[in-house]
């Protein structure tokens, strides 16, 4: 089975532009989470979706939005990009049902550089 896949793997944008990042979870996983990892730091939680509903949101501005589709894939959108948005954006899926502890399976991430 394929793991979590993310696209694009690398991208360069300029300040003020908008970006859309995509994620396909492992087959059968209904939970998708997005994390931002700045160089040298641990992942910071952005969003969590389960069964197409937003179940959690981290401390990020409204420029960040996401959605989950009927096939459980997900998109993360960031508007009005700032230099500080440069980071590795990680998508993770989880097999366990809502409310249960479980392992997060991460994709390789999308590395965004904002110039």
């Amino acid at each position: 089975d394929a793991g979590v896949t993310q696209s694009p793997t690398h991208l360069i944008k300029t300040r003020g532009q908008q970006v859309t990042l995509r994620c396909s979870p492992i087959s059968g996983h209904k939970s998708v989470s997005w994390y931002q990892q700045v160089l040298g730091q641990g992942p910071q939680f952005i969003f969590q979706y389960y069964e197409k509903e937003e179940r959690g949101r981290g401390n990020f501005p409204d420029r960040f939005s996401a959605r989950q589709f009927p096939n459980y894939s997900s998109e993360l959108n960031v508007n009005a990009l700032l230099l500080g948005d440069s980071a590795l954006y990680l998508c993770a899926s989880r097999k366990t049902p809502w409310g249960r502890t479980g392992e997060l399976f991460f994709g390789e991430g999308s590395r965004l550089t904002v110039l």
Partner: protein, 112 residues
């Protein structure tokens, strides 16, 4: 907000040495997970500890969950260059709808 503090932040050791990485919080977690991340890749789960005082071993790696479920440690015996990477601890809350909270990580470099 639940915070996890990891120490040390950076660690550079010679092959064959032992080391311990710490993960501390003032919050109680239902479980704590340890991940390892290599350059260009996403984190990969090493272990999950659930019970206070629990000790789990994974070859040369020993993980311990504190009795109060607020802290954890990772001990590596006879480190090898293949152990090089970013080690992340992550805490899971009790509510079920809380996200996994990560520490800032410990970057380990094992020199041959």
């Amino acid at each position: 907000t639940q915070l996890l503090e990891q120490s040390p932040q950076f660690l550079s050791i010679q092959e064959g040495e032992n080391l311990t990485v710490y993960c501390n919080s003032s919050s109680v977690f239902s479980s704590l997970q340890w991940y390892r991340q290599e350059p260009g890749e996403g984190p990969v789960l090493l272990v999950t500890v659930v019970t206070g005082g629990e000790v789990k071993k994974l070859k040369r790696l020993t993980f311990q969950f504190g009795d109060a479920r607020k802290d954890s440690s990772l001990h590596i015996t006879a480190a090898q260059p293949g152990d090089t990477g970013l080690y992340l601890c992550a805490g899971d809350g009790f509510a079920g709808n809380t996200p996994l909270v990560f520490g800032k990580g410990t970057r380990l470099s094992v020199i041959a």
